[in-house]
C-alpha cells in the first residue's frame, strides 16, 4: 500500500496538470505585473524601464484619481463593515433563534447573492433612472419630490448610488455565514440562559455574539477585502465617473490599461491592489487577535 502511495509517477499524473495551469495563470502573472509596473509601456513593442516612477506617479498625479479611488474603496469598506454587517448580524440572530418562517426568510434574503452582478447592475440602473426609476417614483409618491435626483449622473450622489447595490447584494451572504455559526451554538446554553431569565437581547449580547465572534471576524475580513477588490458593480453603473466621483482602484486600473493604453502605470495599480489586499488581510487578523487577548 505504502509503495502505491509513494508512486512518483502517479503523483505527477495527479498533481502536475493542475499545478502547471495554476502556476502559469495565477502565480506567474504576479511576477509579470510587478515587472510591467516598472515600465513605461503602451502595450506594443518593448517598454522602457523607469524604476518606481509609476508608483510615485500614482500618488503625485492626483488628477489621475488614484488616491481618490483608494479613499472611495475605504468608504465602501466602511459602509460594508458598519452598515451591511450589523444588518446581517441582526437578521442572522433573529433567524437563528427559530422564528416562524425561518427557512423562507433565509432563502429569500440570500437570493441577491447568487445573481449575476451584471443583472444586478442593469437592474439598479433602472431603479436609479431619473424619470422612470423605482427610487424617484417612490420619492415622488411619498411626497419627497424635492429629493428626486439623477443619482448616478451627479458627482454628489454617484459614489453612494454605486455602492448601495453591493451592500444590498451581500447582506444575505454575511447573514448566512453568521446564521450558520449561531445555529451551531449548543441549545443547552440557551436553555440555561432562559431559565436564568435572560431576555432575547441579553442572550444575543452576552452569549451568541461572543460565541460567533470568529465568524464575525471572517465576515469583517471578507467585507474589507471585497471592498478593496470591488469592480463589477461600479464598472457597470458608472464606470468610475462622473469625474472619478465613484472611482475604485480596479475600475481605474481597467481604464488606464485598456482605454489609455498605459500598461505600466495600470500594472502599478494592480500591484498596489495585491499588496493592499494582502496587507489588510494580515493587519485585520492581527488586530482582531489582539482584541481577543484583552
Amino acid at each position: 500500500m505504502d509503495k502505491f502511495l509513494a508512486d512518483k509517477k502517479a503523483i505527477c499524473v495527479f498533481v502536475l496538470p493542475a499545478f502547471l495551469i495554476f502556476a502559469v495563470i495565477v502565480i506567474a502573472p504576479i511576477f509579470f505585473s510587478s515587472y510591467y509596473s516598472t515600465l513605461r509601456w503602451d502595450g506594443f513593442g518593448n517598454g522602457a524601464f523607469i524604476g518606481l516612477q509609476n508608483f510615485v506617479g500614482l500618488f503625485t498625479n492626483t488628477a489621475d484619481g488614484f488616491p481618490k479611488s483608494i479613499i472611495n474603496s475605504f468608504i465602501l469598506a466602511g459602509l460594508s463593515v458598519f452598515v451591511q454587517l450589523p444588518l446581517a448580524l441582526f437578521f442572522a440572530l433573529v433567524l437563528a433563534r427559530g422564528i416562524k418562517g425561518e427557512v423562507f426568510y433565509r432563502t429569500v434574503y440570500f437570493i441577491p447573492v447568487i445573481l449575476s452582478t451584471v443583472v444586478i447592475g442593469q437592474l439598479w440602473m433602472k431603479i436609479y433612472h431619473p424619470s422612470f426609476g423605482l427610487l424617484n417614483i417612490f420619492l415622488s409618491t411619498v411626497g419627497l419630490k424635492s429629493l428626486t435626483h439623477a443619482w448616478l449622473g451627479s458627482t454628489d450622489t454617484a459614489l453612494f448610488a454605486a455602492f448601495i447595490p453591493s451592500v444590498w447584494q451581500y447582506i444575505g451572504y454575511h447573514m448566512l455565514l453568521m446564521y450558520a455559526s449561531a445555529k451551531s451554538v449548543s441549545d443547552d446554553i440557551y436553555e440555561a440562559a432562559k431559565i436564568d431569565g435572560a431576555s432575547e437581547a441579553a442572550i444575543a449580547r452576552y452569549i451568541t455574539i461572543p460565541l460567533i465572534m470568529p465568524m464575525i471576524k471572517i465576515c469583517v475580513i471578507f467585507a474589507v477585502i471585497g471592498s478593496l477588490k470591488s469592480f463589477d458593480l461600479v464598472y457597470i453603473l458608472t464606470g468610475g465617473g462622473p469625474v472619478h466621483a465613484s472611482e475604485v482602484p480596479s475600475t481605474l486600473m481597467f481604464n488606464t490599461i485598456f482605454f489609455k493604453y498605459m500598461y505600466g502605470y495600470g500594472s502599478a495599480m494592480a500591484v498596489f491592489i495585491i499588496a493592499e489586499c494582502l496587507l489588510f488581510t494580515v493587519a485585520i487578523q492581527k488586530l482582531l487577535k489582539a482584541e481577543d487577548s484583552l
Binding site: 496538470p17 495565477v26 502573472p29 449575476s116
Partner: protein
C-alpha cells in the same frame, strides 16, 4: 408580559417583512417590465402589472439581441470550467492529502495562496499571454483562466473532505488488486460526490457571473458570454426597457432554477469556503 411579547413579535415581523420586500421587489419589478413596451412604461405604468404579456420582448432579446447565443456560450464555458477544474482539483487534492511525498504540504500552501489573490493582478499579464498565444476571442480564453482561478477553492474544499475518508477503504481496494488510478476513480471519486456538488455549485456561480475577464478577453460577438452579452444588449437597446428586462430574466433563470431546486446545497457551498477559513 404576554402582550409585550406579542408587540415585539409584530415589530420583528415588520422588519423581516420589510427586508423581504427590499430583497425581492426589484426582481419582481424586473419580471414585470420585461413584459412591457416603452409606450406602457413611459406612459405611466412603470410599476403596475403589464396590460398584456409582451412575449415578443423575449423573442427580440433572444434572437435579434443574441441572448440565445450568449446563453449557449455561457453554458459551454461554464460547463467546461466545472468539468475540467473539478477533475483536476480532485486529482491534485487526492495526491496532496492521501499520497506520501515530501512537497505535498508546500504544494497545498501554494494552491491555497490563490484564495487571497485578487484576479485583477492577473488581468494584464493574462491578456498579454493569451494575445501571444492567439487565444483571445476563443472559448479557451475564458475556460483556462476560470479553471485556474477555480482550483484554489476546489482544492480547499476537496482536501478538507478527503481527510475524513477512512484509510481502510483504499487498503482493501489495494488488496483486491486495484492500482492507484483505479483506487482514485473507482473508490475515492464516488465517495467525494457531496464535495463535488459543493465545488461545482461554487464554480458555476463564479464562472457564470464573471465579468472582468469576459469583458477583456472576448471582443467578438460570437464568443461573448451572458455577462458581456447583457452589457452589449443594454448598450444596443439603451432606451427600450422591455428587451433588456427580458435579457436579464433569461440570464437569471438558470441560476434561480438551480437555487430553487437545491437552495440548501447552494447555501452550504457558499458557506463551505468560509467555515473553515
Amino acid at each position: 408580559m404576554r402582550r409585550d411579547g406579542q408587540k415585539k413579535h409584530y415589530v420583528l415581523g415588520f422588519f423581516l417583512g420589510l427586508f423581504t420586500i427590499i430583497q425581492l421587489y426589484p426582481l419582481i419589478w424586473l419580471v414585470l417590465f420585461s413584459f412591457k413596451d416603452n409606450m406602457e412604461i413611459f406612459g405611466g405604468n412603470v410599476l403596475g402589472l403589464p396590460h398584456r404579456l409582451l412575449w415578443q420582448n423575449y423573442n427580440q432579446a433572444l434572437f435579434s439581441g443574441k441572448v440565445g447565443l450568449y446563453f449557449v456560450n455561457s453554458c459551454l464555458v461554464t460547463g467546461a470550467t466545472i468539468l475540467i477544474s473539478g477533475l483536476l482539483s480532485a486529482m491534485a487534492s487526492y495526491a496532496i492529502t492521501r499520497m506520501k511525498w515530501k512537497l505535498s504540504k508546500i504544494t497545498l500552501t501554494i494552491f491555497l495562496l490563490g484564495l487571497m489573490l485578487p484576479i485583477h493582478a492577473a488581468l494584464l499579464p493574462l491578456f498579454v499571454i493569451l494575445r501571444n498565444m492567439h487565444l483571445l476571442n476563443t472559448y479557451w480564453a475564458l475556460i483556462i483562466p476560470y479553471v485556474a482561478f477555480a482550483m484554489p477553492m476546489a482544492i480547499f474544499i476537496f482536501s478538507g473532505f478527503l481527510q475524513l475518508i477512512p484509510r481502510e477503504l483504499e487498503e482493501s481496494a489495494c488488496l483486491d488488486g486495484c492500482n492507484i488510478y483505479q483506487i482514485f476513480f473507482k473508490i475515492v471519486f464516488p465517495l467525494i460526490k457531496p464535495a463535488v456538488a459543493t465545488v461545482s455549485i461554487f464554480t458555476y456561480l463564479s464562472a457564470w457571473n464573471e465579468l472582468m475577464f469576459a469583458v477583456t478577453f472576448i471582443s467578438k460577438q460570437e464568443f461573448r458570454t451572458l455577462t458581456v452579452g447583457i452589457m452589449s444588449l443594454a448598450g444596443q437597446y439603451t432606451t427600450e426597457w422591455g428587451p433588456i428586462g427580458a435579457g436579464l430574466v433569461v440570464a437569471t433563470l438558470p441560476t434561480i432554477l438551480v437555487y430553487s431546486l437545491m437552495s440548501d446545497q447552494v447555501q452550504k457551498s457558499l458557506t463551505a469556503g468560509a467555515l473553515k477559513g
